[in-house]
């Protein structure tokens, strides 16, 4: 990124996860500043920054905070979504690992703004090391009076609790996450009521992604205008992308929104490995529609441009596919993930996901028929739009885009009578 990084600027410092290093570069000054402001003014600043949710849906953050009723008989809660389950996504992880205090500070500012006294961080269960680091940072913050009672000598009290997930992708959906923290079966709730009104333990609740919250201290420190100077008109600021696949330098990058996809691939990621040709890219996590190499030309990494291309920015989990990748095998593997992760409440998602998986498995194992493809598309399209949560859509989008865009390859596979090796694919 040409401009000064927002989210990643401290990550190269040795011991960046410690309070001492965080404080040495101005850490917790934004909190000080926020506590001197009216809560409503903090929400306003975040609204003006144009910050949008980085968990996938891109909902305006300031607006979300403003939905929480000011007066509430029940305690209000903040839930930080650190479940990071979307295949291809591993960007929240680096924040937890390298800059946990920015998340803690962001959560404190959000809590002050919304009138919250207790926050939960719901962390993907597999993040064992990250949980240790995060808990260490929280302990340090308590010791230094950034958390707990009378924060920074004000009347503001706030506690943070780390809650370790048990491995279900669907628990990243905000209401399933809430159920899970409550100790209930991790399945999404029927909305309305939305969490802003009835959420955790029945109280009004804000759910935000790690990256969203980690951007908040910078916005408070530099002002909304400085944030708006990054990115495009509607997609302001910067975003983390986690890149996997046969590129020379896979990893996590911060880019200014609106950056051209191919430039990002060639300049930041060093281009594809020698001898590989680009076949397709998933830009925003495995659930967004795939882009063919041709479609990648001219694509820009911001919410609107990608929507025009028929896909989504999503979580920023970018997966690059080289020529020669077996799309039948890969889609079957992906379908297996979604079918396995469907919570099973809604008929279309529960039955459709399993059905599509079994159809794809049959094809992959060499027992497919040509009209299976239309049957899969029909069922996939019957799955979407009418379920309790968007997981059904998250499966439909890849299934439909892959089969439509690589139909020839699927047909060829079926006609040639290929057989996937091994009972288990992927």
């Amino acid at each position: 990124m040409d401009k000064e990084p927002i989210l990643t600027k401290r990550m190269h410092l040795p011991g960046s996860h410690t309070l001492a290093v965080y404080e040495s570069v101005g850490g917790y000054q934004s909190l000080r500043k926020a506590l001197a402001m009216e809560p409503a003014a903090v929400i306003d600043e975040v609204k003006k920054s144009g910050l949008r949710g980085r968990g996938g849906a891109g909902f305006p953050t300031g607006l979300k905070w403003s939905f929480v009723p000011k007066e509430s008989t029940k305690p209000k809660y903040l839930c930080c979504n650190a479940d990071e389950g979307e295949p291809g996504t591993f960007k929240d992880r680096v924040i937890l690992e390298k800059d946990p205090h920015s998340l803690i500070e962001g959560m404190l500012i959000a809590s002050w703004a919304v009138g919250i006294r207790h926050g939960y961080i719901y962390v993907r269960g597999e993040f064992l090391d990250q949980i240790k680091i995060l808990q260490g940072a929280i302990d340090e913050a308590y010791a230094k009076g950034y958390l707990g009672k009378g924060i920074l000598g004000t009347a503001f009290d706030c506690d943070l609790t780390v809650h370790r997930g048990a491995g279900a992708y669907v628990c990243g959906e905000e209401t399933a996450l809430i159920n899970s923290i409550e100790g209930k079966r991790g399945q999404p709730r029927l909305k309305p009521p939305f969490p802003a009104v009835v959420g955790l333990f029945g109280g009004p609740t804000v759910v935000n992604n790690v990256e969203t919250l980690a951007a908040v201290p910078w916005i408070l420190e530099r002002g909304a205008a400085a944030y708006v100077a990054y990115g495009t008109e509607k997609s302001t600021g910067s975003k983390l992308f986690s890149v996997s696949g046969p590129v020379k330098n896979p990893g996590v990058y911060e880019i200014e929104l609106g950056y051209p996809l191919m430039d990002f691939l060639n300049n930041e990621c060093g281009g594809l490995r020698d001898g590989t040709i680009l076949k397709a890219i998933i830009v925003g996590g495995s659930s967004v529609p795939i882009l063919t190499a041709a479609e990648c030309e001219g694509a820009r990494l911001d919410y609107e441009s990608l929507q025009q291309k028929g896909t989504m920015l999503g979580s920023g989990g970018m997966i690059v596919f080289p020529e020669g990748a077996n799309m039948v095998r890969l889609l079957t593997r992906l379908a297996k993930f979604y079918a396995h992760e469907s919570c099973g409440q809604c008929t279309p998602c529960r039955e459709g996901s399993g059905f599509i998986l079994r159809m794809l498995e049959q094809i992959y194992q060499g027992h497919g028929k040509l009209d299976d493809l239309d049957n899969i598309l029909r069922v996939a399209n019957n799955m979407t739009g009418n379920t309790i949560c968007p997981l059904a859509d998250a499966m439909q989008m890849p299934v439909v885009s892959w089969i439509t865009k690589f139909r020839k390859e699927f047909e060829q596979y079926i006609i040639s009578g290929q057989r996937g090796t091994g009972a288990r694919h992927g």
Partner: protein, 537 residues
């Protein structure tokens, strides 16, 4: 203050309903039944089956009618192309893993999946993939036997035990199309309402241990009844098979099951298990013979006319010396006739049925079960019977008999087996009972009565609600108590000029101020309040 209402159009018909009503309920109020699996009026909203989708103009997506409240100005289509296509899609998906074992499924004939498939789908299976295999025979406790493969995962059963009994024995385990309904190990369903778990299941995934494989439902006839198990008077449907005398294998009519009948003011859509299975006890212990006349110490079968004549003679002779024991298990009509009879003879009612003893006697909770285990205590009070004395007078019975203060006794619908020895000392015992209890041996005349499902009548429940019940079939051997009392009255010179329950009801309504203006044919299905609500127990 008038309730806020919303006016909308459903399938071209204008409807006005209270604000907050769901589209599904609004449609139901004008007779449009929107297909649904997971919605249940007395359970929390789940919105998971997606069967109830409707098309609302100006909304891009179809919406679930169970979870969408009405708004004025809405124009809703419940059965257009788009909706039908969506329903068909949901059904197709429901059937992906369904075994379609209707031929051996108890639910066949009353199954929503089967009905909707016939109505909306009727397509050949395009689902050529192996089905997910699940346990198909699991006893979950209480009356509940589960077949996982037939489950449509609507979670009604889970919600019933979470929302209503709050015992929470059932939960969904696993995910996706491997989701199953199960109990935690070693913690079976154990509450007094397990039968409802079977009722709420819209398909054959929860079957009744009691009813399983006993009868195909289309052989059953249904009669609207009221449970006689306690003073709540839950509304029921008694389902029975008609008797057959003509076939190669004659068999008497028989009750096969009792189901709740919706009455939001009394029992919603629930029944307790003891009440639900009460018919078994009656059916098993029913006395199937005719009247008995005692002569020379032995009971001899007697034709009805002769037995009634003999009984009337004895009563007339006893006159004012006759003592009467009534029962709050009798209907209002029967209690009314009995009152006329005592008035005719110038005598009084001596006693009253005490609460049944033992565990059943004390069962009560804040859901349905009431402590008073008689269905018509409030009716009896309304008809001028003394406040229930919980058996104090009855306890004195043996002493009264021994002292010769009681020599002639008429017992209607009451079990006095505990006092059999004392009864033997009576000069006259006229006994009317559905069951040939031990005391029948001591009876001078035994007139067999009828079980509650064999007669029509009314009960007044603890809320002061008069509720009507109908007869399923005529008793074998016995006669309804109202018939017996009517006949005795005629023989004692009091002819009411009627021969059926509606006629007795009319006479009673004329005589009892609280019932003024009520008419048998007009009694609402959900009953009518006739006396100030009783706050007992």
């Amino acid at each position: 203050m008038a309730e806020a209402t919303e006016k909308l159009i459903i399938d071209g018909i204008e409807v006005e309903v209270p604000a907050g009503t769901s589209i599904l309920e609004a449609a139901r109020s004008i007779g449009i039944d929107i297909p649904h699996f997971c919605y249940h009026p007395h359970l929390s909203l789940a919105g998971n089956c997606r069967m109830c989708l409707v098309d609302i103009e100006k909304m891009p997506k179809l919406q679930i009618s169970c979870g969408t409240p009405v708004k004025s100005g809405m124009v809703v289509h419940t059965n257009n192309e788009r909706v039908r296509a969506a329903r068909k899609a949901v059904l197709e998906l429901q059937l992906v893993n369904h075994p379609i074992d209707c031929p051996i499924c108890d639910q066949a004939g009353e199954c929503k999946l089967q009905d909707y498939y016939m109505e909306y789908s009727l397509q050949a299976s395009r689902m050529e993939v192996p089905k997910v295999v699940k346990p198909a025979l699991v006893y979950l406790g209480g009356d509940v036997v589960h077949n996982g493969e037939r489950c449509v995962t609507c979670l009604r059963c889970v919600r019933f035990l979470t929302d209503v009994t709050r015992t929470g024995e059932l939960c969904a385990v696993n995910r996706g199309d491997h989701t199953e309904i199960d109990i935690l190990e070693g913690r079976p369903i154990s509450n007094l309402y397990s039968g409802n778990v079977v009722d709420v299941c819209p398909v054959g995934a929860m079957t009744s241990k009691d009813f399983r494989f006993k009868k195909r439902v289309w052989y059953l006839t249904t009669t609207e009844s009221v449970c006689p198990g306690c003073e709540r008077g839950c509304n029921t449907s008694v389902e029975f098979e008609q008797g057959r005398s003509y076939s190669y294998e004659p068999r008497p009519a028989k009750v096969f099951r009792v189901k709740p009948r919706r009455n939001d003011e009394v029992n919603k859509t629930w029944l307790c298990d003891p009440g639900r299975f009460l018919f078994h006890g009656y059916q098993a212990e029913r006395y199937l013979g005719g009247p008995l006349l005692s002569s020379g110490g032995t009971a001899q079968p007697s034709p009805w006319n002769e037995a009634l004549d003999a009984a009337a003679d004895l009563l007339r002779k006893a006159g004012r010396d006759l003592r009467v024991i009534a029962s709050p298990d009798l209907s209002c009509e029967e209690l009314y006739l009995l009152r006329l009879l005592t008035e005719r003879l110038g005598t009084t009612v001596f006693g009253w049925h005490p609460a049944p003893a033992g565990e059943w006697g004390v069962l009560q909770d804040d859901l349905l079960l009431r402590r008073d285990k008689h269905p018509n205590s409030a009716g009896a009070e309304l008809l001028g019977y003394a406040k229930r004395d919980e058996g104090a007078a009855l306890a004195a019975l043996p002493a009264e008999i021994a002292a010769g203060r009681i020599r002639h006794l008429l017992v209607v619908g009451h079990d006095l087996d505990a006092h059999v020895t004392a009864l033997g000392k009576l000069e006259t015992l006229v006994l009317v009972h559905w069951n040939r209890t031990a005391m029948a041996g001591a009876a001078t005349v035994f007139l067999p009565g009828a079980a509650w499902y064999e007669k029509a009548g009314t009960f007044v429940n603890f809320q002061g609600r008069l509720q009507r019940f109908e007869a399923c079939f005529a008793p074998t051997g016995g006669k309804p108590e109202w018939f017996i009392l009517l006949e005795l009255l005629v023989r004692l010179g009091h002819d009411l000029g009627c021969s059926e329950v509606p006629g007795i009801f009319a006479a009673m309504a004329k005589a009892v101020p609280a019932l003024a203006g009520t008419r048998w044919p007009d009694l609402p299905k959900t009953g009518v309040i006739v006396s100030a609500a009783e706050v007992a127990s």
